[in-house]
């Protein structure tokens, strides 16, 4: 842990943390609404998870247990660096076990196991505005949210279906929160989108570069945008299993054997896969 004489606990000064917490409270009070906040400078480049880190640093306490994952992996460069940084400035315990963690900071994935009510999932968000793909002007998207004018977003989905026969959005699939705000669930795959609905845990979303925070409190209704006659579909892994732990019905990464060229699959959530193997699960 770094010298507490020169750095405050959790790096940010107390006033900064207080301001971020106030924004978080507002975000929890209005699920799916993007709350602006004064994004601070950090020893990490913008776009590398600064929004998520600021939320984590603002809510973390000495008793917390932290897990950081990047695209499901505990060991990617981004995840390891964030873990090192938070650990250095707080001294909290670090884990790879999703069940043991009280705060999980993540990018691109939600852990496989259902999260519990005392857990907080912090998601890093590159582009918080879901309407950006249909409207480039911030002032206009704000007005669209205020008036609930989401026709252009629906029209984009309609066009995809008409021209391609299916909706082409794979990650960042827009969701409607409590039948009010359309929200960007961060670049999680479609597979993870249903996990946001009626969840026991608290989801916090931070975009450092765009200076926005939003949240999904526990047991909030979060529904992907879908037409009445075209149900929302997630990625399908039927008939595929992890080559390390044999897991089926989980989100799998597709890999290619460089020598044989054969395709094989392994769990995207590495912590989940390692725990299964510890329990003796084999392919």
């Amino acid at each position: 842990m770094i010298d507490q004489k020169h750095y405050n606990f959790a790096f940010l000064d107390e006033n900064s943390k207080r301001e971020i917490r106030r924004s978080l409270l507002k975000a929890v009070a209005i699920p799916g609404y993007q709350v602006p906040f004064g994004s601070r400078e950090l020893p990490i480049g913008r776009g590398w998870g600064t929004g998520g880190i600021q939320i984590t640093l603002s809510v973390i306490g000495k008793e917390d247990v932290l897990k950081v994952i990047d695209q499901g992996s505990d060991d990617s460069v981004n995840a390891v660096n964030i873990k090192k940084f938070v650990s250095a400035c707080t001294g909290v315990e670090i884990t790879t076990d999703s069940e043991a963690a009280s705060i999980i900071q993540t990018r691109h994935r939600i852990p496989e196991i259902p999260l519990k009510k005392e857990q907080i999932l912090v998601l890093q968000v590159p582009t918080p505005e879901p309407l950006r793909i249909v409207e480039p002007r911030e002032a206009v998207t704000k007005k669209m949210h205020a008036e609930g004018e989401y026709s252009p977003m629906w029209l984009t989905l309609y066009e995809d279906l008409l021209r391609c026969g299916k909706i082409g959005i794979s990650a960042e699939y827009p969701v409607l929160v409590e039948n009010r705000y359309i929200m960007n669930p961060s670049p999680i795959p479609r597979y993870d989108t249903p996990k946001l609905n009626d969840s026991d845990c608290l989801y916090l979303f931070g975009a450092g570069r765009e200076k926005k925070i939003y949240a999904i409190p526990p047991h909030t209704r979060v529904m992907p945008l879908e037409f009445d006659d075209i149900p929302f579909e997630t990625e399908n892994f039927t008939g595929k299993r992890c080559h390390l732990c044999g897991a089926e019905g989980v989100y799998l990464d597709e890999l290619t054997d460089e020598e044989t060229g054969a395709k094989y699959y392994e769990c995207s959530d590495t912590g989940y896969c390692a725990k299964r193997r510890e329990q003796g699960c084999r392919p």
């Binding site: 029209l155 309609y158 008409l162 021209r163 009445d228």
Partner: protein, 284 residues
């Protein structure tokens, strides 16, 4: 054969009272109703784009609005469609508040509802009314989505039906309007405007810029949709031939004001106002 629908016993489907659109603050001179030679005040230069416009549109009627460029025709039309804010005046739509509520005083949500459910607009420039990069069917679906449509199959079927009604082959419904000719773009606009079975259709110079044969097609189409859909039409044009062919009644605008009104034949064959006389004689 033209049909006249201005029976006094019948209630108008759209009634506009004292519609004024002003650009500028105004001064003691122009705000107190002093006569303006042009549509701008000689003292404060405030522009009175529409000045105390009153009109009624009856069920099933086509009401023509003629006048030179800059006379306030399009401003009036776009104000009724809530594209432009209105300075003063009121408008009553039979379907909104039983014709007793001023739709200019409606909330933003109510205006959105009126636009999407009760009115359809066809702009002179298709770029204003269509998304050129989206498909023709998508353009129609946009209107259905805005009115709450969330069923892909039924929206696509409705788009196909409307495109067929304006003689665009269903095989081209996936093509974007930017690939279409000017006449086809106007026809896509008309089908989009009709998507939610509106009571009132606002047509702003729909034939301007089209060649004569395409103009004739669009005019035939307008006549046909009036009969098929039973819609009332407010038709703005500076082309008196178009007005003569379609409109039951006509109003003439000059410098933001209505200067003459009556049956179309009466206006075109026996104009009373010197400007209307000049307009009719210069073109016929």
């Amino acid at each position: 054969m033209q049909t006249v629908k201005n029976n006094k016993k019948e209630k108008p489907i759209l009634e506009v009272r004292g519609l004024t659109v002003r650009y500028g603050q105004g001064c003691d001179y122009c705000l107190n109703g002093q006569p303006l030679l042009k549509n701008s005040c000689p003292h404060c230069k405030t522009v009175w784009a529409c000045n105390d416009v009153n009109l009624e549109l009856y069920p099933g009627e086509i009401l023509g609005v003629v006048g030179e460029s800059g006379s306030g025709k399009s401003t009036m039309m776009k104000s009724i469609y809530f594209d432009f804010p209105v300075t003063e005046g009121s408008a009553y739509l039979q379907a909104y508040g039983a014709g007793k509520a001023n739709m200019f005083a409606a909330t933003a949500q109510q205006k959105k509802y009126i636009r999407n459910h009760m009115m359809g607009m066809v702009y002179q420039n298709p770029v204003l009314g269509l998304r050129m990069d989206y498909s023709a069917a998508g353009n129609i679906a946009e209107k259905l989505i805005a009115a709450g449509g969330r069923n892909f199959g039924s929206m696509t079927a409705r788009a196909s039906q409307l495109l067929e009604a304006v003689e665009i082959l269903p095989g081209r419904m996936k093509e974007p309007p930017k690939n279409f000719s000017g006449g086809m773009q106007q026809r896509v606009q008309i089908s989009k405007a009709l998507a939610n079975n509106p009571q009132v259709l606002l047509l702003d110079e729909v034939t301007t810029g089209l060649d004569l044969s395409v103009q004739a097609k669009v005019l035939d189409l307008i006549r046909r949709i009036r009969q098929e859909f039973g819609v009332s039409i407010l038709l703005v044009s500076h082309d008196l031939a178009v007005i003569r062919m379609l409109a039951d009644r006509t109003v003439v605008m000059l410098e933001g004001k209505i200067i003459e009104r009556g049956l179309t034949d009466q206006i075109l064959d026996d104009p009373q106002h010197p400007y209307t006389q000049q307009l009719v004689h210069s073109l016929l």
